[in-house]
């Protein structure tokens, strides 16, 4: 039986997860430089040890209003395709080991922007975790309506 490790985090009370190997690191950061004229999903840029990282606002990607960038905000930094990209999230959860058995495709009732980002649902004890499609999640040119 195959099992996978997921790093979990919360956005607007919902638990999401990405596979651990796609994550470079997790950290909280204070100051973001806005990029005028960039797609709305771009929260800003920040300095990660001298590297300029773009932070993608997961709330916007999920069809919600922009996250207020006051005070420290948690970043899940994904390795990305050659250049790291960060996802702005509300809260970091645990790393969980999940059997494929616990996996189900997204429910048919799930629609809207969230549906496009989610590849499946994992049944955890007492709550559900939505597994994100990493590439879709950081694609800021995706039509977010």
């Amino acid at each position: 039986m195959a099992s996978r490790q997921f790093a979990t985090f919360e956005v607007a009370e919902q638990l999401f997860g990405v596979e651990v190997h796609t994550v470079q690191e997790v950290l909280s950061y204070n100051e973001y430089t806005p990029v005028p004229l960039a797609p709305p999903a771009v929260g800003g840029l920040f300095n990660l040890r001298g590297q300029v990282i773009a932070a993608v606002d997961l709330r916007v990607q999920l069809g919600m209003a922009r996250k207020a960038l006051q005070g420290p905000v948690m970043n899940v930094i994904l390795r990305g395709d050659g250049e790291p990209v960060s996802l702005l999230v509300d809260k970091i959860g645990e790393v969980v080991d999940l059997d494929d058995e616990a996996f189900e495709p997204p429910p048919d009732t799930l629609s809207g922007p969230t549906r496009e980002l989610v590849v499946g649902t994992f049944k955890l004890d007492g709550r559900l975790m939505l597994a994100l499609d990493v590439n879709q999640a950081v694609d800021t040119y995706r039509a977010t309506t």
Binding site: P36, L37, V42, L45, N47, V52, I53, V85
Partner: protein
């Protein structure tokens, strides 16, 4: 191809270097056909290639090199004279070698390259020579067999008997031996000098001989110079992977940023010991950065060296005579930049030979030397390197360019009278522009000046052209020293800080809303810059932010795409060196940003793409120009163009209007005396009060060491005062308007001069600081003594 093997790789690398040298030598040989040195050098280089290719079993290459060597040996032995035809054949042979080498590099084999036709040419040349030699002197001794690999006779040192025919591998000869061989010293003198050294005399052998009068300085120098080139370059240099250097450079960039943050933090604590350590760290970091940058630097000669050949071939085919002058070939540039500059520079040179320099008969008719002069000039200028390609040809025809630009639809006829000469000349950089009356195979192929401009702007540089009818044209490339670190101005717009590459900034204007103000032409903002209308781009609007007011803002006068425009920002902060970071690819489509950088406070700052801002502004500017021509002309005033003396005070540049300067003097420090709290010197029978600009302006930094101080003397009537500066930098033309700066006492403003921010001294205030009664008691001489 994938595994050429290290030896072949080394061979290719080395041969390419050798071939470039041979090219240069051949072109010089054509100028001085009697130079045995040159022939020998070319011979040796070809011989090395031949030897190695034989060893590596590249038989075609060996055959070709052998052919060339045979012809060269005839030239060397004087059997055959050096003629332009021989040079052409030899150059063709070198090209053949080159194409074999690149074929080896690409597919590991040399079989596709045709060498027979080149060899036929080479043999034809040799036969010409033989026939001529036999006809002229039938009794002359037979030429050595073409294949002979005799070492070249060393006529300068006939006594030398060389054991090995390969001078390259020869060990360094002791200087004594060289001196004896050349007759510069007697064997017994050298012997006794050596004995002295054995007895503990630590002087060098040459020094001993010189000091005892046993050898002439010239002889020793010659022996030393003979010794020097024999030290193989391998002893003093190593090859380093460029990627490694890039990584090091990036890390040093980070170090610089960390240093900046640390220094800022430490300054706030005010702990003197920590501050000193931080300053020391700062210095070391700067030196480290400089050192790493230097490893990537190469003299511009590296790319210039190919140009003599280009010019020779081109001028021959066009029937023109061109002399090439190179100035500043030791000027160094970052390696990656050199690569990027190579093609644009070659294009400019070809263009200058093709279109700039006239045919010999036309030149004679114009009263010029039939031989045109093409000057390549490279020099440092305020954090940039300027590279100029100057010809003494007919110059650009401004009217013709204007006409052509109108024909091509690049300009509207009514725009032309409103443009100055330089603006019109800059039209040649527009895509699809070519004034060449006839299209030659050299230029006018559509890849022209616009490509030059794009390439140079891509590396953060700028292109300009200036021309005087009948006297020639100067094309000028301004190139940053390195790609990774640029001089930039930080500006505020809204709540964010942005970075503007300084190379694009011409000047800064402060808009106070009364004496300087933004005007609107049916909604489009403009500013009257010395009587001309400058289209304005509001940065906040361009970025989709809330627009701020029109008062208390700054206009940065920028140049890009050959046009000027003003960028309105809220505040201009300072200039600093920033490390350019590539911006995440997702932002490339926006087009407004050229990159990002980490600012001193650790935040990310966006670097603005000036060209793209310019393109945005011109859409609007073109439609507004027309309406405004009338008012612009009515208000046209004379440009200031005053000349300024630029001085260094601490780390600042301070400019003083030249017409207020009477003399520049150097006074010995010891001559400075004290009168009350003031410093004075005796000068031409007067007591001259001194004021140190560093004190007046509150400039920090240590006083320069040295026994003298530099002063600027200002006199009016009988009275004089002296302003002490650290250093006189330059005299510059001020084409800029000062921006008011109320924060600083003692200054009338700040301007960008020679691409550096320079403060303009309030001369009157400085004089009053030295002598409070200077203006009130001009008649009274006694007062001066008391002052």
């Amino acid at each position: 191809m994938e595994d050429l093997g290290e030896i072949v790789g080394e061979f290719l690398l080395e041969s390419h270097e050798n071939l470039d040298q041979i090219d240069r030598d051949l072109v010089s040989l054509e100028q001085e056909p009697d130079s045995r040195d040159l022939i020998s050098r070319i011979f040796r280089a070809i011989h090395t290639i031949k030897g190695t290719s034989g060893f590596l079993a590249f038989s075609r290459l060996e055959k070709l090199a052998h052919g060339g060597e045979s012809l060269l040996s005839k030239l060397r032995d004087g059997v055959q004279p050096v003629t332009p035809a021989t040079i052409t054949v030899l150059l063709a042979m070198i090209d053949g070698v080159r194409s074999i080498l690149s074929s080896i590099e690409e597919n590991g084999s040399e079989n596709d390259v045709d060498i027979d036709s080149i060899l036929a040419q080479v043999h034809a040349q040799m036969n010409v020579g033989e026939a001529a030699a036999e006809a002229a002197a039938p009794a002359a001794p037979a030429a050595p067999a073409p294949a002979a690999e005799t070492p070249e006779p060393l006529d300068e040192t006939p006594a030398a008997v060389r054991p090995a025919p390969e001078p390259v591998e020869e060990q360094r000869k002791p200087i004594g031996e060289l001196l004896v061989e050349s007759g510069g010293a007697q064997p017994q003198d050298v012997g006794s000098a050596l004995a002295q050294q054995l007895d503990g005399d630590e002087r060098k052998l040459g020094t001993i001989l010189l000091e005892e009068g046993k050898a002439k300085p010239a002889a020793v120098n010659e022996a030393l110079s003979q010794q020097a080139p024999k030290r193989s370059i391998a002893d003093s240099a190593i090859r380093v992977d460029v990627d490694l250097l890039d990584t090091l450079l990036n890390m040093v960039g980070e170090l610089v940023l960390a240093r900046n943050q640390l220094v800022r933090g430490v300054m706030e604590t005010g702990d003197a010991t920590l501050v000193r350590s931080a300053q020391r760290l700062g210095m070391i970091t700067s030196e480290l950065q400089e050192g790493i940058m230097k490893t990537r630097m190469q003299p511009i000669e590296h790319i210039w060296s190919k140009l003599p050949r280009v010019i020779r071939d081109l001028s021959n085919s066009l029937g023109k005579k061109v002399e090439l002058v190179m100035q500043g070939k030791e000027t160094e540039l970052d390696r990656s930049l050199l690569e990027a500059v190579k093609d644009p520079l070659t294009h400019l040179v070809r263009n200058a030979v093709d279109h700039g320099i006239e045919d010999p008969d036309k030149r004679v008719a114009a009263g010029k030397d039939p031989e045109g002069i093409l000057t390549l000039r490279a020099y440092h200028e305020g954090g940039h390197v300027a590279v100029e390609v100057a010809d003494d040809g007919a110059g650009l025809d401004v009217d013709r360019i204007a006409q052509k630009a109108v024909e091509k639809g690049l300009l509207r006829p009514e725009q032309v009278p409103n443009m100055d000469k330089r603006e019109i000349m800059a039209m040649v950089f527009q895509p699809g522009f070519s004034t060449a009356a006839k299209v030659t195979n050299v230029s006018g192929r559509g890849v022209g000046m616009d490509v030059v401009k794009t390439n140079i702007e891509n590396i953060g540089g700028a292109v300009s052209v200036d021309s005087t009818p009948g006297q020639g044209t100067v094309w000028r490339l301004t190139i940053p020293l390195t790609l990774a670190i640029i001089q930039a101005l930080t500006v505020d717009c809204g709540e964010q800080r942005y970075v503007v590459p300084q190379v694009a900034v011409l000047e800064l204007v402060f808009i106070d809303g009364t004496s300087t103000k933004i005007e609107y032409a049916s909604g489009a903002p403009v500013y009257r810059l010395r009587g001309k209308l400058l289209p304005l781009v509001r940065l906040d609007k361009s970025l989709g932010l809330e627009p701020s007011g029109d008062q208390g803002v700054y206009i940065m006068v920028l140049q890009a795409d050959g046009r000027r425009f003003g960028l309105v920002v809220d505040r201009v902060l300072n200039t600093e060196e920033v490390v350019v970071k590539a911006l995440n690819s997702r932002f490339k489509d926006i087009g407004l940003y050229a990159g990002a950088t980490i600012l001193g406070d650790g935040k990310v700052g966006l670097i603005l793409d000036v060209s793209s801002l310019a393109r945005r502004s011109h859409l609007a500017a073109d439609s507004d120009r027309k309406n405004l021509e009338g008012s612009s002309r009515a208000n046209a005033g004379a440009g200031s163009g005053e000349r300024l003396l630029v001085t260094a005070v601490g780390e600042r540049r301070v400019a003083i209007p030249l017409d207020t300067v009477t003399r520049l003097e150097e006074f010995p420090r010891a001559r400075i005396e004290h009168a009350g709290s003031r410093e004075v010197v005796q000068y031409r029978g007067q007591i001259l009060p001194l004021v140190r600009l560093s004190h007046l302006l509150g400039a920090y930094g240590e006083e320069p060491e040295g026994d003298t101080v530099s002063v600027v003397v200002y006199s009016e009537g009988e009275r004089s005062v002296a302003l002490v500066v650290d250093r006189i930098v330059d005299i510059a033309e001020n084409s800029t308007t000062a921006r008011r700066d109320a924060e600083e006492d003692g200054l009338v403003g700040t301007a960008v001069i020679q691409q550096r921010v320079t403060e303009l001294l309030d001369v009157r205030r400085a004089i009053l600081a030295a002598d409070p009664n200077f203006y009130t008691d001009l008649e009274s001489d006694e007062m001066l003594v008391e002052a």
